[in-house]
Amino acid sequence: MERWALVSGLGGDLEVYEQIQRELKTKRGLDRLFVLGDLIGPKHNNDALLKRLQQPQRGDLPPECIYGWWEEQLLAERGYRGDRTAEALRINHGNDAVEALLASVDTGHMAWLASLQFGFIELDCALLHGSSADVGDELMPSSSPLILLDRLTRLDVNRLFTARSTQQFRLDLNGGAIDSHIKDLNGEHNQQQEVPKRSVIGIGSGEMFSLYAPGSDHIEFVKVGVKPVSRGLGFG
């Protein structure tokens, strides 16, 4: 049965990545490794990890990467996003943080980073860094269900995997409905729509990552070096 590993927020930490790769070897039946953005970050020089992601070592589960919030800042500042610059980073952390980020990634990696996609659609799942609205969108259990449902609806997927909030959680929309009354020049009519059975899953960050089996809809939250708490719930 197909099984995916979902990782994010490595922040340039090759050591954590190697720990995750070692941990993945102990798991059975893992087919794919998705790295949902924030490969790079402000705390480390990012070159070694970026090299490893582009040139996996023997025995590594090959990573499939998308860009995250930090890559977006870097790409914007390096002129890959039209007129935009790393405004969000500059406003929140000042110009020094922008300079530090620029210095932490060799420009030789830029073409590869610029080639990364916003997200993957696999089966009925969207694998994203933030959400379908924005790479910086922080979805978490306390987010308005209306917003979560909207983010699912925009891509018409049943499962949305997100990493931006750094939290590990599974939120299932499992009931409810809404009535619409529509009046136009042809008359009036009513519509009822039910809440679709859909889920938003926070995969965690850094050494906290997730394993997902799309066939059984089974999610497992993992922390490097810690025996995982199994999650058997789901819609199956």
Binding site: I147, D156, Q167, G176, S180, H181, I182, L185, Q193, V195
Partner: protein, 271 residues
């Protein structure tokens, strides 16, 4: 007090004059315009000048934005490729025709206007280019109004007028965290909200040639979609005289266009 909301004038002076006369006749003094003053039609300067002269609060439409910013729009600006090609011709013509001062006026328009719990936008609160169609997913529609902090959202851009009330909504969720094996359930009751599409004064596409707009009675909260006849032939002739694509005249004289449906109404403009 009643107020009128108009949208998508599209440089059709005869239609604008007829609608303003209809509003005046009913003694309504407050008018809000949801943009698209220009594009497709033959009198962009005249229509902009009339709106300025009447000092009607106006938000910026997709056409108004594109005339100032150039056509850097993402493909969602047009509902179909055919529409896009024709749109480009109309864009070039309008761009050449408009005075610098009138362009400056379009550039100065805000993307939204707010009066208490009423929000006025051209497309959606997210973008001048997003279509809020009447059959859009009800939860997504409610999210647009709710996230914008409004109770009633007035929009245009689709050229099809409607009033949609979203009510009696609820969403139940179950949350599991990584640190416990139990899960918690929550129920959220959704508020009642409305989306009102004002249709189009100058380029109706609801299957009828009459100009449309809406009247909102704030005392009773009633919403009425108005249809107003105007001299369609006069504007059609002006379109042809101006050398604009004849299909725009055809569309005005039919009130719809076969190809003019949004290919992907849920597309989110990332511009």
């Amino acid at each position: 007090m009643a107020h009128a909301v108009i949208s998508c004038l599209h440089a059709n002076l005869a239609a604008v004059e007829a609608v303003l006369a209809d509003i005046d006749q009913q003694g309504i003094n407050t008018i809000t315009c949801l943009g698209d003053l220009v594009g497709y039609g033959p009198q962009p300067n005249e229509v902009v000048e009339l709106m300025r002269q009447r000092a009607i609060p106006t938000c910026q439409g997709c056409w108004d934005e594109d005339i100032i910013d150039g056509l850097n729009a993402c493909e969602c600006s047009y509902p179909s490729q055919l529409a896009e090609r024709r749109g480009h011709l109309a864009h070039q013509w309008t761009d050449a025709e408009m005075t610098a001062e009138n362009k400056r006026f379009l550039a100065s328009l805000p993307t939204s206007l707010r009066r208490d719990k009423l929000l006025f936008v051209h497309g959606s609160p997210n973008s001048q280019h997003e279509y809020l169609l009447p059959d859009m997913n009800a939860f997504a529609a409610l999210e647009r109004v709710e996230t914008a902090g409004a109770e009633t959202l007035f929009c245009g851009h689709t050229h099809q007028p409607y009033v949609r009330e979203l009510r009696g909504g609820s969403i139940r969720v179950r949350v599991q965290h990584n640190d416990s094996s139990s899960s918690e359930e929550q129920d959220m009751t959704l508020p009642m909200r409305r989306i009102v599409n004002a249709g189009s004064v100058g380029e109706p596409r609801h299957g009828n040639t009459q100009a449309t707009y809406v009247i909102h009675d704030e005392a009773t909260n009633d919403l009425t979609i108005r249809e107003v006849s105007y001299d369609v032939a006069k504007t059609c002739q002006a379109i042809i005289d101006a050398g604009l694509p004849e299909v725009f005249a055809w569309r005005l004289s039919h009130g719809f266009e076969y190809a003019e449906r949004a290919d992907d109404a849920s597309h989110v403009c990332e511009r």
